[in-house]
Symmetry: C2
Subunit: 263 residues, 2 copies
Amino acid sequence: MPRIIAVCNQKGGVGKTTTVINIGACLAQLGARVLLVDVDPQANCTNGVGVDPRGLKHTLFDVLVQPDKFKIFRMEDIIIKTEWPNLDLVPGHPDLAGAELHLVRKIGRETLLRKTLEPVSRPYDYILIDTPPSLSLLTINALTAAQEVVIPSRAEPWSLDGIENLLDTMDAIREELNQPLRIAGIIVTILHERARLSKEIVKRAEQDERLRGRFFKTRIRRNIKLVESADRGIPVIHLAPESHGAKAFMALAKDLAGLDEPA
Amino acid sequence: MPRIIAVCNQKGGVGKTTTVINIGACLAQLGARVLLVDVDPQANCTNGVGVDPRGLKHTLFDVLVQPDKFKIFRMEDIIIKTEWPNLDLVPGHPDLAGAELHLVRKIGRETLLRKTLEPVSRPYDYILIDTPPSLSLLTINALTAAQEVVIPSRAEPWSLDGIENLLDTMDAIREELNQPLRIAGIIVTILHERARLSKEIVKRAEQDERLRGRFFKTRIRRNIKLVESADRGIPVIHLAPESHGAKAFMALAKDLAGLDEPA
Ligand SMILES: Nc1ncnc2c1ncn2[C@@H]1O[C@H](COP(=O)(O)OP(=O)(O)OP(=O)(O)O)[C@@H](O)[C@H]1O
Ligand SMILES: Nc1ncnc2c1ncn2[C@@H]1O[C@H](COP(=O)(O)OP(=O)(O)OP(=O)(O)O)[C@@H](O)[C@H]1O
Ligand SMILES: [Mg+2]
Ligand SMILES: [Mg+2]
């Protein structure tokens, strides 16, 4: 039975997609069978593992919206194997931007992703869901499909404010959709370590009542290799295994998997 | 008659809000009368000029959604003067996250912001609209209310891909809503100047057919003062007038206003 993890923070540009791709690729390298699910109309996760969504005939859009009256699209029809072993992908597409308008009137509109993922989930150890920077219906679908949430955040005030709103949304989902949902952890990302203000902001966040004790100890520092990795569509563990970025994500993947690193 | 400028890029964390606040504050300091309009449920623009949306009785949410059967909310009821001269604000609020569900079924749902802004716009020289990281109904409202668009982008591939989608959306708006909409310019933001990859990515973008010639020559480099400015809710020109960030935004404001800087 897979661990299904949504990676969320409605603040933009905090490293959600970078986290999904790179934790996924590291877990796959460690031997886990991993499925990445790209629920974001920007489709950065899809591009980030070397797949161009515009070159695909069918994507997550077709499964959620079912645009064809004569054909039912299932997850199994659209799952792609990436070029790395153990790393599969449910591709996103820019058309997802319009998906919410279709979904808004459907019965069970929040549980559509969970229901469609269920038949294909058994072969996987980890399913990692990338979400858009919003608390809208696509993100709610991801939170409802998941059992756990990983929250990347920069050491900046607006990324941390975003977490408070996300926690409120998670509480609402637990209550109204009767969905157990736990926080796997908060990751401090794109960290400019030497800036005094960054340290101050992280310290302040770690003392916040709702956030205390929830931070992964691995922090992802700023590393240009992660930008190059996005640019080339190759996870950093394969592009530059000796880089800070690769090592940090590998440590994070092991932490998430409960594999203890020597201190 | 004001210049109405939407600041857009559906990629997250590229500096949209930072651009709205700081170009706005610089123009106000130069003597222009400026209105900032916060159309983002994250309400970072509101917080960034020292206003806590949760402390307000009424915000843009009330004007767009009209939640009270017995009272009509107008822009004039919710506009706030910030603590700096010439700088006013239409405050946003987290409840805007739900606004799109209400708006989706309204006739004229794309032109609501334009119609409600029109009666209050005359006293201003510049109206700058901050938008969420999405191409959804709130952003469409901003694009339809505006005559010009400023596009911030990081020197990173996914921010630049976002611009292509945005240009397509602008084309659609021009055609279907018969709305003239021009690009005031693209700003390269949060630039890590010394990184060879950043230079490469900027150069590549400047040669793209659709983007060529549209870049502001001022680039906003990474500057921790901008993070501090966000944290303290004070525009950088007031917090740290001698900082790189303040000087860069002042140059950008003058460029936008057509005031020529000595080279
Ligand atoms: N540790 C890092 N060091 C340097 N650059 C990074 C790092 N992590 C991510 N980036 C870059 O920062 C940008 C934003 O990251 P990313 O797209 O993963 O964030 P996101 O939260 O998914 O954004 P969005 O809200 O738009 O979905 C990307 O261009 C990415 O390559
Ligand atoms: N030039 C800069 N140097 C350093 N930090 C910056 C700079 N510009 C913006 N920032 C910081 O980067 C973060 C993202 O910027 P900002 O919130 O303005 O982007 P945005 O595009 O509005 O994000 P969103 O898509 O979430 O609305 C903020 O914490 C901001 O303080
Ligand atoms: Mg993303
Ligand atoms: Mg913003």
